[in-house]
Every structure is written in structure tokens, then in C-alpha cells.
């Protein structure tokens, strides 16, 4: 299985299209960093606009807020919406692309079981997703830390503002990226499942994005009947749960408690639902593929 995985990764990373996603991430991150480097103060003002009646903030304080940690948070908020498309580019192509090229036919005449074949394909697309996140972490977290330095991190919530001490931030990013990996693996599994039914990769990529967009709209809508019935079970509702790592508990004086997470239970529940979706999507993909006639 390890040998098969190696050749699968070799195939993925030899394809020029694989690097589109890496290039796209680099372009977006660098553009955001450049914008904030030269006009960061305006962004912070905009961010704190709603709070200016409640708090008086000195310019020095505002400058401290604009640090690598905040920039990374901004980038994550922006990019984690676009990343499913980039993940679907490879996962959606994994079976359908091979069917389109005709290589699926040749591959399946080899002495490899279909389950093994599918597992290797899925693991390879998950590894690709991890590489993509690692790349994003390198640019958005470490790059921003390098360019903007680090300081306490401000987190704006609907009813409050939280300040996380500088020494309590980094591990939260590691956890957030880990969670994002699980969330994107779910998208990858969906694209992988849809890829089994198609004979060119455009279909599964568009279908995956359509599902993500429709589910995201449903997740964002505030309709009471959906809040109780559909929303808790949509995987898109749980994909943004990584933000929970930046919501801290406060003591009686309103000071953030170091190392605390406001609602760890909710994050773990979201994680379980995402893992459940991943298993269901992948299991279904394997089940269907094992019975599929290869006719193309």
C-alpha cells in the first residue's frame, strides 16, 4: 500500500494543475499582506468602528493590534471559504480524471484490489490537502509573524472584544489548522465520492462547489426551523468551528483565562460530525466503485 501511495503522490505532484492551488494561495496571502502592510491602520479602524463609542483607543494600541496573529486570522477567515474549491480540484479529479484519460482502465487491470486502489487515492488527496494547509500556514502564519511581528491578539465577537495574550495564541493556530484539515478532508471526501460517478473532472469539481455553496447559504441563514433541523447536521455549519479555538473563557474581571477554550465540547462535536461525513462519503465512494463497471 505504501508503494501505491508513493506513486499516487508522484502522479499528483507531477501534474502542473496541482500547483494552481499553491499559486492561488500564495497570491491571495501575499496580496492581503501587502495591503495590510501599507494600509493596516485603515483596516483596524474599520474593524473597531463599532466599538469606538464604547472604548477609547490610543494609536499605539491600534498599532499593537495589527500584528502577525491578527493578519493570519483575517487570512484564514477569507481563505477557508475558497479552499474547498482548491481541494476539489485534486479530489474531484482523482477518479474522474483517470477515467477521462483512460488510465483508470489500464490501472484496474493490475493486481490491485479496488478497495486498496480507492483508499490510496483518497489518502493521497488528503495528503495533498494537508500540504495545501501547510503551505497556507507557512505563508499566512509564519509569513505574517515575520512581516508584522507578534503581539496580543484581538478577537471581535458580536457582543464583546477579547484580547488573547501573545503567549497564548500560537497553539491555538496549530489547533485551528488541524481542525481546518479535518474540515477540508470532508470536502475532499465529497469531491472524491462525486468523482466516482463522473468521467471528467469538471463535473465533480462543480458539483462539490455547488453543494458547499448551497450548504453554506443554508448554514448562514437565520430561519428558526432550519436552525433546529437542518443546520446542526450540515457539514458546512461545522467547517467554521476552528474559530472556537480563539474564543476564550474570561475570569470575573473579564480577563481571558490562559489556555482556555470557551466551548471545547462544541468544537469536538463539530469535529465528530465532520469525521462522520468523511467516513460516510469515502465509504460510499468505495462501495459504489467496487460494483462499478468500467466502460470508458
Amino acid at each position: 500500500m505504501w508503494k501505491l501511495l508513493k506513486i499516487e503522490l508522484f502522479k499528483i505532484f507531477k501534474r502542473p494543475r496541482t500547483y494552481i492551488a499553491f499559486g492561488a494561495i500564495a497570491a491571495i496571502v501575499i496580496l492581503i499582506q501587502i495591503a495590510l502592510r501599507f494600509d493596516g491602520r485603515s483596516y483596524v479602524d474599520l474593524l473597531l468602528n463599532n466599538l469606538k463609542d464604547s472604548f477609547e483607543m490610543a494609536d499605539d494600541f491600534k498599532d499593537k493590534l495589527l500584528n502577525g496573529y491578527l493578519i493570519c486570522f483575517v487570512i484564514l477567515n477569507t481563505l477557508l471559504i475558497q479552499l474547498p474549491l482548491l481541494v476539489a480540484l485534486v479530489a474531484g479529479d482523482s477518479i474522474a480524471g483517470e477515467a477521462n484519460m483512460g488510465t483508470l482502465r489500464l490501472s484496474l487491470t493490475r493486481g490491485v484490489s479496488r478497495t486498496e486502489f480507492m483508499l490510496v487515492k483518497f489518502i493521497a488527496s488528503v495528503i495533498y490537502t494537508f500540504f495545501l494547509l501547510l503551505w497556507m500556514a507557512l505563508l499566512s502564519l509564519f509569513g505574517s509573524m515575520l512581516i508584522f511581528g507578534v503581539n496580543d491578539m484581538i478577537v471581535l465577537r458580536s457582543a464583546s472584544i477579547e484580547l488573547i495574550p501573545v503567549s497564548d495564541v500560537f497553539w491555538r493556530y496549530i489547533a485551528a489548522f488541524g481542525f481546518a484539515a479535518a474540515a477540508l478532508t470532508t470536502v475532499s471526501a465529497l469531491a472524491f465520492l462525486l468523482s466516482v460517478f463522473a468521467e471528467n473532472s469538471i463535473g465533480p469539481i462543480i458539483a462539490t462547489m455547488s453543494v458547499v455553496i448551497v450548504f453554506t447559504i443554508l448554514s448562514e441563514m437565520n430561519i428558526p426551523i432550519y436552525d433546529r433541523t437542518i443546520k446542526p447536521w450540515l457539514f458546512t455549519t461545522h467547517m467554521v468551528a476552528w474559530k472556537g479555538f480563539f474564543y476564550v473563557k474570561a475570569d470575573s474581571d473579564g480577563v481571558a483565562i490562559r489556555g482556555s477554550i470557551e466551548n471545547l465540547h462544541s468544537i469536538l462535536r463539530s469535529l465528530c460530525i465532520l469525521v462522520g461525513y468523511t467516513i460516510a462519503f469515502t465509504g460510499t465512494a468505495i462501495w459504489v466503485f467496487r460494483r462499478k463497471d468500467i466502460l470508458n
Binding site: 508503494k3 501505491l4 508513493k6 506513486i7 508522484f10 502522479k11 507531477k14 501534474r15 502542473p16 484519460m101 483512460g102 488510465t103 482502465r105 489500464l106 490501472s107 484496474l108 487491470t109 493490475r110 493486481g111 490491485v112 484490489s113 460494483r291 463497471d293 468500467i294 466502460l295
Partner: protein
């Protein structure tokens, strides 16, 4: 001889189409087994079932004495196959493609072994070229190399001459013969090119509309030295009269569709046109049809697809 493949009562349905219907055949070890049929006869579906790309609706396939449905991996590790076209990773080199398919076949291969394989199909010098720069013939040869890279006992080739020029077809024919006669492989080769199949096959299976028409050794099925000659004349009646009165009387076979048909041994073909002209009946056309083609057309749909096959 011990059969390498035994197929019993194979059937495949796609929705309301029956692609293969109650097909049974046996492929002897060490032979080139020709698989003939018109387009849509069910050849490719059968070939796909032999390598588990398509699952039978019913019936049983045993290869190397093992049931394909339960021993897929073991069987396919000893089988090399090209179904339809050998589509390869165009963005990779020949060497990289070969390494990928060798690994998937469970074979550990050194670069030297892979290069030897490429040399066998005449592609050693282009080993590091990307497949997208290859001609159709080169892709076909590389496809053969991928089918052979794990040294299989059984090789399944579905329409291996498709898209090849005459030189490519001749090369492919020689390679098939080399694989069987020099390397001891068993080959199943499907094709609609009758003349090519006749040149390489030891045994043959002919199917039509998913059903078996005939199976056996070529020498048992028909006389390969026999040729059917069709002649159009200005006056068929007079021509037949004079033919029967000449030394060619035994060659007369029949009159059909406005032609007079003669059956001749290949030794009798030399000078036949001169002899027919000597009968002093103007000839409008003369067509010598090979006996396998004749045999095939008689079996399949009564020869109504003659033109399609000639093309």
C-alpha cells in the same frame, strides 16, 4: 492442452441490452487465441469481464484454475492486458509510466529492467520523453511494454492494431508471434481485422450479438489456403457454360447477387485471370476474397456487413 481460461455461461446485461449472452469458451495454454466479431458483437465487453473491469450478470470465469470473482488479485498479477487503447499518463515519461504500472502489478523493478522492457518494444531511446510527444504506434508499443512489465503468463490484447499504420500493424503482429512462440506466453487477441487474425492465431472464437458462433483450431475451422473468387461478366450464363466445359469446371461454386463464384486453392490462383479471359466472355470485375473473410461473413449476419468489414 491445459486450459488457461475457462469461461462458462457468461452473460452481461446493460439495462435492457444483452451484450454477452450465454458465452462459453476455453483458451488453451501457450496459444494465440483470436477473438473475432463485428463491432458491437460483445468482444470488448467479454475482454473487460476477463480482467474484471466489468462484472458479469451471471456465469463464471476461471483463469489459471482460479475463480476470477474471488481471486482477482492473484489472477491479474499474472495477466497483462490492454483494453481498447493503451491510455497512459501523457504528462509523464515512458520510463515513469512503466515504473507506475510495474509497481501497481506488484513487481519491484530496477531501472535496467524497465529499460530492457522498453528496448523490447523499441522505445529505449525515447525512454525519457513525455508520452504526449509519442505517435500512436509508439503509444501502442509502450502499452504493450506496460502489459509485459511484470512478466505475465497471460496477455489480453483488445484490438491491438487499432489506429496503427501498415508498418505498425506488421510490427504488432511480429511482437505477438514473438511473445507466444519465443517467450511462451498465452495471448488472447481480439480484432475485426480478419487477415491479421488469420496470420497470428492458433485458435479462434467468433461471436456475434453476444453469442458464440464457433470456436476451435483455425485448421479445423476452415482451409486457409482456400480463396473465393467473385467474377462479374457480360453474360453469366454463357460464362458458366464455358467454365464448366473447361478444365476449371471443378472450381465453379455458385452464382449469387449477379456474380459467379469460384472456389480455388491458392496454388490455382496463379494465372487464373488469364484463364478466365480465355473463356472469351467479357469480364466486368474480378474479386478474390480470402476464405476466412468468407467464412466469417457467412457466419455473421449472412454477410450483410461486407462493406463495413472491407473498410
Amino acid at each position: 492442452m491445459e486450459p488457461i481460461i475457462e469461461v462458462k455461461n457468461l452473460r452481461k446485461e446493460f439495462a435492457d441490452l444483452v451484450a454477452v449472452d450465454d458465452l462459453s469458451f476455453t483458451v488453451p495454454t501457450g496459444q494465440i487465441y483470436g477473438f473475432l466479431g463485428q463491432n458491437g458483437a460483445g468482444k470488448s465487453t467479454t475482454m473487460r469481464m476477463l480482467v474484471d473491469l466489468v462484472r458479469p450478470s451471471s456465469g463464471n470465469i476461471r483463469i489459471f484454475g482460479l475463480d476470477l470473482s474471488t481471486h482477482r488479485k492473484e489472477i491479474l498479477r499474472q495477466t497483462g492486458a490492454i483494453i481498447e487503447r493503451p491510455d497512459l499518463y501523457k504528462y509523464l515519461t515512458a520510463l515513469e509510466n512503466l515504473r507506475i504500472f510495474a509497481t501497481m502489478s506488484g513487481t519491484s523493478t530496477s531501472k535496467k529492467m524497465l529499460m530492457d522492457q522498453l528496448a523490447l518494444v523499441g522505445l529505449a531511446e525515447r525512454a525519457n520523453s513525455k508520452v504526449k510527444t509519442y505517435s500512436q504506434g509508439m503509444k501502442q508499443r509502450l502499452g504493450i511494454a506496460t502489459a509485459l512489465v511484470h512478466n505475465p503468463k497471460l496477455i489480453i490484447l483488445d484490438e491491438p492494431t487499432n489506429g496503427l499504420d501498415p508498418q505498425g500493424i506488421a510490427d504488432m503482429r511480429n511482437m505477438i508471434l514473438h511473445l507466444c512462440h519465443d517467450l511462451g506466453k498465452t495471448l488472447i487477441v481480439s480484432s475485426h481485422l480478419l487477415s491479421e487474425m488469420e496470420l497470428v492465431s492458433d485458435s479462434m472464437l467468433i461471436i456475434d450479438k453476444g453469442k458464440k458462433l464457433v470456436e476451435g483450431l483455425i485448421s479445423d475451422l476452415f482451409d486457409p489456403a482456400e480463396t473465393l473468387v467473385e467474377v462479374r461478366t457480360a453474360d453469366d450464363k454463357l460464362f458458366v457454360e464455358r467454365l464448366k466445359a473447361s478444365h476449371l469446371d471443378k472450381a465453379f461454386h455458385s452464382t449469387a447477387n449477379g456474380t459467379v463464384q469460384l472456389k480455388l486453392h491458392k496454388n490455382e490462383l496463379t494465372g487464373i485471370l488469364r484463364q478466365l479471359l480465355d473463356l472469351n466472355v467479357p469480364l466486368l470485375s474480378f474479386n478474390a476474397r480470402h476464405s476466412l473473410e468468407d467464412y466469417f461473413l457467412n457466419l455473421t449476419s449472412g454477410g450483410q456487413h461486407v462493406e463495413a468489414f472491407k473498410n
